[in-house]
Amino acid sequence: MYIALNNERIIYNFDKGVLVRMSGPDESYYVEVKEYLKNDETPYTVESYPISPKKSFCPYFKLPIEFYGDWEILIYKYVPEHGMNRIFSHRFNDYGKLVRFILKTESYEECKLWVKRVQEYVRIHGCTPIVETPFDDINKSFITYYNIPYIDVYKTYNIGRFPKDSTDYRTLDPRKKDLIWFGNWKTFWSYQHPRKWTELSSQEIADDILGLS
């Protein structure tokens, strides 16, 4: 997604997590991602930090969480007379947009079960699905065929069983396991699952990732 403001140009998407790239006259901008939980209109900050588009250190914002969240992106700039001014906000809304679902299972039966959950997601969100599975007959049953190159999707969901991220700081230093860190506030099992998939049924795994549980 692309938007041009007065002086700033912003590219953002939720494809593989939240990504914000931008250009503008300022040296730094401050990006924040909040999440709205079910039945709660209080926004909870998930991650925030400044980016410096013109520099090699931290030129863009990335939050690698891939499962569903009702995310909101906010961008601020510092105005010497007023302090922090919000210049842009966008809340996750995939209505009418292309959303890619990649179902990573070798079981045909499980794939069919997950497709049903994808259809439920599509019904709720009103998005246009692109479905990729190892099974051609399932792929072809969707209007939009999967094998289209360079397509600009709003969001991609990988549905499967993914191991705990090796880059997660909690796996690197066990001493820091329970210490508070500014930023991430949920105890993520990984960036791809909100909960431990080893304790979930097949349908629950898909529902967890798609925010249907």
Partner: protein
């Protein structure tokens, strides 16, 4: 009948405490042993202070009935201390129980805890009555702005950064300097607006969220724009920071009062309430009957709070009671001190209050080492430096000897019996036994005790000395009063700049040896280099 050990080993201010049968046996901060101030370390164990408490009290962790660790708990540090079972205690519960159950307050009380985000929460509010606490509201870190963040990140930015991009002043350590500087600044609409864009208040909510890194971002920008380039500019910034803090918190407390008008007593804990100017503003609200700030109000008080909570749950600490004093650290016998003193070539004489009062009256700087060390950030009559309060020049001399910044104000101790003659407000005297409140000074006293009065706003942060609670401290003050007609002495913490308050006699002797002090009163003897 139980022995309870409490521990906190979080990101700063590690500590240990032990409570037996509802009585505090001992409490000690890790920084006193490690000699690294909270703020200089961002992961701290509680191993050294635990071992010291075990050594001096005879109580052992492994023989205790209960062991309670305050969240966030790091397994690594737990294993350093004990391999036995332990319980967890919520961070803000430890703050709140510590405050309410040492307040001695009866009737309806609101307890508020507020810090930078201990255990993912910035603030909790409890309604308390007759030993019962009910959680009213809590403010998660990620959905609520924090004034503590604003202070912390302002502190680390205001003097610029070192070669490692660390703030020259450190958060969790140097915030008091900003508060001291604030008194000399003035209102600046632009700065106030900028700070207000970081945090605001409405309907019992502080917003927006993520004040931590956002504050750092703005402070970095302000640093580049030259807002901190001179002493005067820094003072203006600090004034507006203090003003915003007061404005938002007063609105918050007033809103709370309009919801619960029958609650007129307030208990506070958490780092924000180390801010004595804020506490003063709240104390001066007309409807407030009394406020109390836990003496170790920051995370250094968590271990004690956790012990008190457990003790309360066991029925051994059923209702709030008053602390006699907070000299809860290790103490040393005359024999032990005498043995240590052999390493130095000092003259030694028997302590006489009259003689020391005479020295004080002559302008000598006296090191004061008595009993167990204080628990918390203030020197309250166990590890203090005492000086007469009558000279403006004392500030400069002391700062030079202690290698401190002149922005740090000095505080008075005052005889309980004379407090009302000198200071204007007479509420919340109990909490002032622990130096947690500022008061305005009466006009006729401002010129008599200039060394302990904030030059610009004429306030002071007095410690009320009660005869029954600190008899020896009261005695020296009274003797000085008899000689000078002034019931006040300057009391500053016994440490050099950037160091924690001293803990053992050796550290006191070293200060005497370096001529930081002129004489050292240590238990029943006086040491000097003469």
């Amino acid at each position: 009948m139980s022995t309870i050990f409490g521990f906190y080993c979080g990101s700063h201010s590690g500590c240990c405490a032990v409570v037996k049968d509802g009585e505090i046996i001992s409490a000690l901060e890790e920084e006193r042993m490690s000699r690294k101030k909270a703020g200089d370390v961002h992961e701290t164990s509680a191993l050294l202070c635990t071992r010291k408490i075990e050594e001096t009290t005879g109580y052992k962790v492994d023989n205790s009935d209960y062991r309670v660790f305050v969240a966030p708990v790091s397994q690594k540090y737990v294993e350093e201390i004990t391999h036995l079972d332990y319980e967890n205690c919520s961070h803000h519960d430890a703050h709140a129980y510590g405050a309410y159950f040492t307040s001695g307050m009866s009737g309806k009380v609101i307890t508020i805890t507020y810090d930078g985000g201990g255990e993912n929460t910035v603030m909790k509010i409890y309604l308390c009555e007759d030993g019962k606490m009910q959680l009213l509201r809590q403010y998660p870190y990620n959905s609520c702005g924090s004034l503590s963040h604003l202070w912390g990140f302002s502190t680390s930015s205001i003097m610029g950064y070192d070669a490692y991009n660390e703030g020259i002043w450190r958060m969790c350590k140097d915030e008091g300097k900003l508060m001291g500087m604030a008194a000399d600044g003035h209102y600046d609409e632009k700065i106030y607006k900028i700070l207000n864009s970081l945090i605001n208040y409405k309907n019992l909510s502080f917003y927006p969220t993520t004040t931590a890194w956002k504050t750092k971002f703005v402070c970095d920008m302000m640093f580049k724009d030259g807002y901190f380039s001179t002493k005067e500019k820094r003072e203006i910034y600090c004034f507006n920071l203090q003003k915003l803090t007061n404005d938002l918190m007063i609105k918050f407390v007033e809103d709370l009062h309009s919801l619960y008008p029958e609650y007129k007593k307030l208990c506070f804990a958490g780092g924000l309430f180390a801010n004595v100017k804020l506490n003063q503003q709240i104390n001066e609200l007309g409807w407030v009957e009394e406020i109390y700030v836990m003496p170790p109000m920051g995370d250094e008080g968590l271990a004690l709070g956790a012990c008190i909570k457990k003790s309360h749950e066991l029925g051994e600490w059923p209702k709030p009671k008053k602390l006699k004093n907070v000299l809860l650290g290790p103490s040393y016998s005359n024999d032990k001190i005498s043995e240590i003193s052999k390493n130095y070539n000092f003259s030694k004489s028997k302590y006489s209050a009259e003689e020391i009062a005479k020295d004080l009256n002559e302008g000598k700087i006296i090191g004061w080492f008595q009993g167990g060390s204080e628990h918390g950030p203030r020197a309250l009559g166990a590890r203090s430096i005492l000086v007469r309060p009558t000279d403006v020049g004392t500030h400069g001399i002391l700062n030079q000897r202690l290698n401190r910044y002149e922005t740090m104000p000095f505080a008075p101790i005052v005889l309980e019996e004379k407090f009302d003659e000198i200071f204007t407000c007479s509420k919340s005297k109990y909490t002032s036994e622990f130096m947690t409140l500022c008061y305005s000074t009466k006009e006729e006293w401002i010129n008599k005790i200039p060394a302990v009065i904030q030059k610009s706003d004429k306030t002071a942060r007095p410690q009320i000395v009660v005869k029954d609670n600190l008899p020896k401290f009261w005695e020296i003050l009274n003797e000085y009063y008899k000689l000078s007609g002034i019931p006040v002495l300057l009391n500053t913490s016994f440490n050099s700049h950037n160091e924690p308050i001293i803990e053992n006699p050796n550290q006191a002797f070293r200060a005497l040896n370096k001529k930081i002090i002129d004489k050292l009163v240590i238990e029943d003897y006086v040491y000097s280099t003469e």
